[in-house]
Amino acid sequence: MVTIPFGIQVLFAGLLFLIGLVGLLVRRNIIFMLMSIEVMFNSAGLVFIIAGSHWAQPDGQVMFIFILTVAAAEVSVGLALILQMFHHFRTLDADKLSNLKDIKTEN
């Protein structure tokens, strides 16, 4: 078993979360934005696992399973939305969707 201090393990999860946050803020390609959200989900689950291991309770792993479910549902709907977006606008750029105008007048 690992004997690394609790703080360092949580710090690793926080670093991973912040990397995902930077990716979400910087990237405009919507597929990369969705991937960054996946990274953030994953690091949140990692914190649950670390805490569950620390206090020797199975609840952390149960919560990770729920996070996995939410991530799977979110990704399936998000990717379907990306397909729709690509059919309508022929682009993956999230900035192109920032106007609420009609499609015809926009192009």
Binding site: M1, V2, T3, I4, P5, F6, G7, Q9, L11, F12, G14, L16, L18, I19, G20, L21, V22, G23, L25, V26, R27, R28, N29, I31, M35, E38, V39, N42, G45, L46, I49, I50, S53, H54, Q57, P58, D59, Q61, V62, F64, I65, F66, T69, A71, A72, A73, V75, S76, V77, L79, A80, I82, L83, Q84, F86, T91, L92, D93, K96, K104
Partner: protein
């Protein structure tokens, strides 16, 4: 701790190696240009996090991470990228991806990191004593204490299926020739 003394050193080294691999591959995945390469790097990151789960005493979750995250969700991403079939580079993105554009978001998240470090420093916690939690305990907890959560997760997945089906459906094509031509004329008039 009896469990901590047995091979604790090698396990710690494995933890640090896996953590480094995860962070480096995630950074490369987030900053890459080619979407397929980024996805493969993200799979490397997920696998190394799975290693961490395993040595933290969660073997069931390690298996789930490989099967569902690396196996199912990433394959979904790859399918969508292959369906879109584009050179995923947009002009706005190439304008945005200059190194200068990374400064402000990185600075903001660095402030968050400092906050986080200070909080961790002031937090009181005992010595880490990881314990292996077997799938049996997880299953018992999942289907007794968290039964309502399982039901809600089932409904969420159902909603996800219905939503993905509805959103991903192609428009039905009109096969009737008269209706088809009429609709085309109408569409030209209206300008859809």
């Amino acid at each position: 701790m009896g469990g901590g003394d047995r091979g604790g050193g090698t396990m710690n080294i494995i933890f640090y190696i896996a953590a480094m691999v995860a962070i480096v591959s995630t950074i490369l995945a987030i900053s890459g240009r080619n979407a397929i390469h980024a996805l493969l790097l993200l799979i490397v990151s997920l696998l190394s996090i799975s290693v961490i789960f395993f040595i933290l005493g969660a073997p069931f979750i390690a298996a789930l991470e490989v099967i569902i995250y690396a196996g199912a969700i990433m394959v979904l991403f790859i399918f969508v990228i292959m369906m879109l079939n584009v050179g995923l580079e947009s002009e706005t993105e190439s304008k945005w991806l200059r190194p200068r554009m990374w400064i402000i978001p990185s600075l903001l998240t660095f402030i968050l990191l400092v906050d986080f470090l200070v909080t961790l420093k002031n937090m009181k916690y005992q010595e880490f004593q990881g314990q292996i939690i077997l799938p049996k305990q997880v299953g018992i907890s999942l289907f007794t204490t968290y039964l309502l959560g399982v039901e809600i997760a089932a409904m969420l997945l159902l909603a996800g299926i219905v939503g993905a089906y509805h959103l991903g459906r192609q428009k039905k094509k009109v096969i009737h020739r008269f209706l088809d031509s009429k609709e085309e004329i109408l569409a030209d008039d209206v300008g859809i």
